[in-house]
């Protein structure tokens, strides 16, 4: 069935085909008239069987048979023998149809339908499947049906696991068998997990034993034939099972534990232009919780916020996710400080308690069970007014000579402290990960022997990356090696360049964000003639890194000004976690559409955006759009889809992403989409805009 070349029909066959078609047409029309007239006589039913044997793809005929069976069953309900003979007949018809076409959806479905009526036996069905699988061991119809039968007949997972083992022994290149294995194991793993949580029943194999055994098996396959890809997928799946934490945990937050937050005093609130780190120009500032996986149930009852002053209202937590309105990895709320409550001389302690009461649950249903607490201090700070009154609206220029290397120590000791505490220490995580670390360590050592081939390199890179992900608190190790491996793979296997490039980017970002020192080396003061040194904002510059994908957001929650220019980015997915972001430069990347910038919608503080010199609009077909529900059904919210003020429907993507944003400065030049009418559209869409492509907006 696989790898067999299709033979062209011989001319002799063509004549036969024509004759067959003629016969089929006659049968078909007779059948249809039976169907329309609801004739379920013996002859009529036999006719449909004959038809299905020739053409099993005729869904109408299968449905007709279902109707006929239902009617016949109703007539002989009391007689089990005739019930059996009716259903047996159906199984026979299906079997004959499958002989004609093994891959007929209709036939397999009909068989399931019969079985669901409580007919046939497991042995008989498995016997039939064995026959079919001997012909084509990978056929997914047969495997699907096998799972159905095994579930229906409650065949034990062990038996089924052994069956997959036998199939793999016969031919290790059997994706279906490996896949089926992962099906049983993922079910088993969750069973195992729940047992572990109930203080594991003695004698029950633990998850690490199961995983170790599976690693051994797939290792044999990978070493035996490194070119056979069926095992690769299984190994990747196993690795994911190993590192994935079942327990939802809080990874990082904003503000960071133990930090001092300065807020402007009421008097200076509006006039203050300070964008210094941790100094807010607004007294409405965000709280962000970053979890290790998507969770739901984050609300004012599961997360309690207490401070020295009265908040009056319940905080509303919002998931930062475009695909799911119920769950997300990152949750945010905004703390509005009432003017009257604060005294400028005092520091107020704020405590955020997460998960002390039940309710936060992972998408797989595991409850958040490791309560954590974040405390930080709030200050009021009287900042003198800047001399240049309008500096707030001065144009930000993303030029190298506008940035000066950040000198730590003097002005902001807070930053240094803060970068030390970016990650929340979860004790559970570090103890639970010992066996995973051992498995991955062993596996890495074994695969180092296979470093001279593609899968060896890729597997070692994946394993080392996985190893680091198990130890979020420690400095990642082997980053250099992993980066080299991905670079080699990009050269070795150009057809999967983008995949390696993306992974390379993620590791590179992990490396950059891994330590205080490396982060500080990428921090710059933005200096502009219009701004005094005191008020110069701090910018994290991740430009010119050739990255194609973004990551390590949990380490970047504090960033207000970010330069990602001159990379190879196609998407900014995940950037929505950076709730403090007010200036962002994305110029000279590879964005192809506004939908690739969808995360911007969640960045409510964003004022300055540079998306110039990209490819927005150059691709008439936006591939990311397929991930997206249609523009009209999409949650455009209280859509004032006002055609009047939109110059053209073609800008709907820009409209969707940019509307409601309080941008004061926007650069879009150098994209295919830019035109005079687009600029007009933007000016209408963004009333707050002061600068568009370097030109002051009136």
């Amino acid at each position: 069935m696989h790898g067999r070349p299709r033979k062209p029909l011989k001319p002799v066959d063509e004549a036969a085909v024509a004759a067959k078609a003629e016969k089929l047409r006659a049968l078909q029309s007779e059948f249809l008239s039976n169907h329309q007239n609801k004739i379920y006589s013996k002859e009529a039913v036999e006719l449909s069987a004959k038809l299905l044997e020739i053409n099993p793809e005729l869904y109408t005929a299968w449905n007709y048979r279902k109707l006929a069976v239902q009617q016949n069953l109703a007539q002989c309900e009391s007689d089990p023998e005739s019930v059996n003979s009716i259903l047996d007949e159906e199984l026979k018809v299906v079997e004959n149809a499958l002989r004609q076409n093994f891959k007929s959806y209709g036939a397999w479905h009909h068989r399931k339908w019969v079985l669901e009526k409580g007919h046939s036996s497991m042995d008989k069905e498995l016997g039939l499947l064995d026959k079919f699988q001997a012909m084509d061991a990978r056929n997914f119809h047969a495997w699907n049906y096998r799972r159905f039968v095994a579930a229906l007949m409650k065949r034990s997972d062990e038996d089924e696991l052994e069956h997959t083992q036998n199939m793999i022994d016969k031919n290790l290149s059997n994706y279906s068998a490996w896949h089926n294995r992962s099906n049983f194991l993922s079910r088993n793993c969750s069973v195992l997990l729940s047992n572990l949580m109930k203080k594991a029943a003695p004698g029950f194999t633990s998850k690490d034993e199961v995983l170790t055994r599976e690693y051994e098996l797939v290792r044999e396959a990978l070493f035996t034939d490194e070119d056979d890809q069926s095992g690769w997928f299984y190994h990747l799946w196993l690795l994911d099972q190993t590192v994935r934490s079942e327990f939802p945990l809080l990874v990082s937050s904003w503000p960071v534990e133990g930090s001092d937050i300065s807020l402007p005093a009421a008097d200076y609130l509006d006039g203050c232009a300070s964008m210094n780190v941790f100094h807010y120009s607004s007294r409405n500032f965000p709280l962000v919780l970053y979890f290790n996986q998507s969770v739901r149930g984050v609300n004012s009852s599961t997360v309690s916020v207490s401070c020295g002053f009265n908040l009056n209202i319940d905080l509303i937590w919002k998931p930062l996710s475009s695909t799911d309105s119920q769950s997300a990895k990152v949750w945010a709320t905004h703390l509005a400080i009432p003017d009257a409550e604060l005294h400028s001389s005092e520091a107020y302690q704020v405590e955020v308690k997460v998960g002390f009461s039940q309710g936060i649950v992972s998408t797989t249903g595991v409850a958040y069970s490791h309560p954590s607490q974040i405390s930080f201090q709030l200050h009021l700070q009287k900042t003198p007014l800047e001399s240049g009154q309008d500096s707030r609206f001065g144009r930000i220029q993303w030029k190298d000579d506008c940035f000066a290397v950040y000198e730590p120590g003097s002005a902001e000791p807070d930053l240094v402290n803060l970068l030390d505490n970016l990650t929340i220490k979860n004790e559970v995580e570090s103890t639970a990960s010992t066996w995973q670390a051992r498995i991955i360590d062993d596996e890495t050592n074994i695969f180092r022997d296979l470093l001279d081939c593609k899968i060896g390199k890729l597997t070692v890179a994946r394993l080392l990356t996985a190893y680091n992900s198990l130890r979020p608190l420690d400095k990642p190790v082997h980053c250099k090696e992993v980066l080299e491996l991905y670079s080699e793979l990009m050269k070795l296997d150009p057809s999967h360049y983008q995949y390696y490039k993306d992974n390379h980017s993620l590791v590179l970002l992990q490396q950059v964000t891994s330590s205080k020192e490396s982060l500080l080396s990428r921090c710059f003061h933005y200096r502009d003639s219009t701004l005094s040194t005191n008020g110069s904002p701090l910018c994290l510059r991740l430009n010119n890194l050739a990255i194609s994908q973004l990551g390590s957001f949990e380490k970047l929650l504090w960033v207000q000004m970010l330069d990602l220019s001159n990379n190879e980015l196609q998407s900014i997915e995940g950037l929505e976690a950076l709730q403090l972001l007010s200036q962002l430069c994305l110029s000279n990347n590879k964005f192809r559409s506004f939908t690739a910038l969808e995360s911007l919608r969640y960045l409510k503080s964003l004022k300055v955006l540079d998306i110039s010199q990209n490819e927005i609009g150059s691709h008439s077909i936006d591939t990311t759009r397929y991930l997206f529900r249609s523009p009209l059904s999409h949650s455009v919210g209280s859509c004032d889809w006002n055609i009047n003020y939109l110059s053209s429907e073609t800008y709907w993507e820009a409209f969707f992403v940019l509307k409601d944003m309080g941008l004061t400065q926007l650069d879009v030049a150098g994209n295919a989409i830019t035109s005079k009418s687009f600029n007009v559209f933007l000016e209408k869409l963004l009333p707050t805009l002061k600068w568009l492509d370097g030109v002051e907006v009136n």
Partner: protein, 570 residues
């Protein structure tokens, strides 16, 4: 001339070809010649078909080897010097020499074997199997001789060591995957090597243009994967070393897949160093044999009712095409020559003269001592018929047990590569176990064939004895009625755990001789020391081509031949 009953004279008396002996080469040539329309007379002094390729019951086996093991000198007939009646004819007397020597039979359970001694079919030319994809199978299909034979699959093959442990030969991807004895990296190395060879073969096939389908896929990669000409001419063992294969893998590839006979590492001792191109061809044969027939589990098959079925099948084929058969003929033929020196015919012991254009002789026939010949120059031409002082021999062993070497695996092959039994071992010992399901012995019993090439019979026997003690347990010697006991090798007393107990064994040496030919007279090859029939068939086909250069060997009659062959596998 003798007291033997007079046979009715053979009629007609003139043939295109007279063949004496029904060994496999003789039978193939008789069938081929008959098929191409030649008149053929096929004679055999034995009462059974197959000569040196026969499968015999224990009594037949005993009497055949005993009669044939006698010193050749005693066989010489007094009549050899008998002068010709016709002065125009010169005569060369032929003797029947023995190919076998050093026969040694031990029976440890005489009563048990007495009851069923006739239910055994012991191969004289064992241990021998067929590769599913080898020439012998192709020829059987082509000649339609396959319709007379059915085969059993050899279930597994193993590499043995001196301690009696048997490790499955990792000969395919599935076998390598399942193997428990190889390390991960060894699996990888072996599989990579097999893929390299496969790639080379595909690339070669593609460049020849014979295999269009294969060449379409990934041609770029394939052309790069060719093994260089330089490497192909180098010794296979050097190529394996160059590919950085560890000793264990090399040994598997050389002796269990490429089936090398002699120690390849020690090139000074070994005369037969396998070249890479030959090694690659043998690997190709092995790989293409796996899966050729749906119901053969591995690369090897064995004929039901024994190896003797193969010559018989060709004889039947020949008979269908008009070949005349006479067996149990007292032969001791005298060759008759015209005064010109041209061969004319043979004179049987009965005195009947039979004439033919060509003559093919069983390898056992030799010319009498030169003094009895009237014409020295005539004799010189038939030097190939002189009993050569053959150096290379193969020592064979046959053992009978009541249990299998591996539970639930009735038919299996075990290979002991050089140095696996002891350091001085210079040739491979091959062991083939065939069970009752192949109808060569009663159900529940097993026949184990062993062989090893050697220069010295004592050395060869020592090898076989070592292999036997590694695999089998010997019953208490006091109970045995050993006909000849070997003092050099001490057998452990009493049955060992798990090892099958030896009930009966035979050890013997066989001379190796290749084909010989002069003008119209040819001598067929003896069974060789190989595990398969490839060399025998190769030599036979060459012989046929030199005998009948203008004749096609089994010209294709109808294209449905292949099917009959596949049906034969059951």
């Amino acid at each position: 001339m003798s007291e033997l009953p007079q046979y009715p004279p053979i009629d007609p008396t003139t043939f295109d070809l007279i063949v004496i002996g029904t060994g496999l080469p003789e039978s193939v040539i008789a069938a081929a010649a008959s098929t191409s329309g030649k008149t053929v007379l096929h004679l055999d002094p034995n009462p059974f078909y197959g000569s040196h390729f026969a499968s015999l019951s224990i009594p037949e086996f005993n009497s055949f080897l005993n009669s044939n093991s006698a010193p050749p000198a005693s066989q010489s007939c007094p009549e050899t010097a008998c002068p010709s009646d016709d002065p125009n004819l010169s005569i060369i007397n032929l003797n029947c020499r023995s190919l076998y020597s050093d026969l040694e039979i031990s029976s440890f359970s005489p009563t048990l074997l007495e009851e069923c001694s006739r239910k055994f079919l012991l191969d004289l030319a064992g241990p021998r199997v067929l590769f599913c994809a080898d020439k012998a199978i192709d020829l059987m299909l082509k000649s339609e001789a396959s319709q007379y034979v059915e085969f059993k699959s050899i279930d597994a093959s193993f590499i043995g060591d001196g301690d009696g442990a048997l490790l499955a030969v990792p000969d395919s991807r599935a076998a390598i995957f399942k193997d428990k004895s190889l390390s991960l990296i060894q699996k990888n190395q072996l599989m990579r090597f097999l893929k390299l060879v496969e790639g080379h073969l595909r690339a070669t096939a593609a460049s020849v243009g014979t295999d269009v389908n294969q060449s379409e896929k990934g041609e770029e990669r394939e052309t790069a994967s060719r093994i260089s000409v330089e490497d192909l001419e180098s010794p296979f063992v050097d190529f394996l070393t160059k590919m950085k294969l560890p000793a264990k893998i090399k040994s598997i590839v050389l002796y269990a897949i490429a089936m090398a006979d002699r120690d390849q590492e020690n090139k000074e001792i070994s005369k037969q160093v396998l070249k890479t191109k030959d090694g690659v061809d043998r690997l190709a044969l092995y790989q293409s044999s796996i899966g050729r027939f749906a119901n053969a589990s591995g690369p090897f098959i064995y004929p039901i009712y024994g190896q003797g079925e193969l010559p018989q099948a060709f004889c039947r084929r020949a008979a269908v095409k008009g070949c005349i058969y006479v067996s149990s003929v007292e032969i001791n033929p005298n060759l008759e020559f015209q005064s010109s020196g041209n061969y004319k015919g043979v004179k049987l012991a009965s005195g009947q003269e039979l004439f033919s254009n060509k003559l093919l002789l069983d390898p056992a026939f030799t010319k009498s001592s030169p003094t009895s010949s009237p014409d020295d120059s005539l004799c010189a031409r038939f030097d190939f018929l002189t009993a050569q002082n053959v150096k290379s021999k193969v020592v064979k062993g046959i053992c009978i047990t009541k249990s299998s070497l591996k539970p639930d695996v009735p038919n299996l092959l075990v290979l002991y590569p050089p140095q696996s039994l002891y350091p001085e071992q210079s040739t491979t010992v091959r062991v083939l176990q065939i069970g009752g399901n192949s109808a060569i012995c009663p159900m529940g019993m097993f026949v184990i064939y062993l062989s090893a090439s050697c220069e010295d019979v004592a050395e060869g026997k020592k090898l076989l004895n070592r292999a036997m003690s590694a695999l089998l347990s010997f019953p208490d010697c006091s109970e045995s009625s050993s006909i000849a006991s070997d003092e050099n090798v001490s057998h452990p007393v009493g049955a060992e755990e798990g090892k099958p107990t030896l009930l009966w064994s035979a050890l013997y040496a066989q001379e190796l001789q290749t084909t010989g030919q002069s003008d119209c007279i040819a001598s067929s090859p003896t069974p060789d020391g190989d595990l398969d029939y490839n060399s025998v068939f190769h030599a036979t086909l060459e012989l046929f081509q030199t005998m009948y250069p203008d004749t096609d060997l089994f010209p294709a009659t109808n294209p449905s031949d292949e099917h009959s062959g596949e049906n034969a596998e059951s």
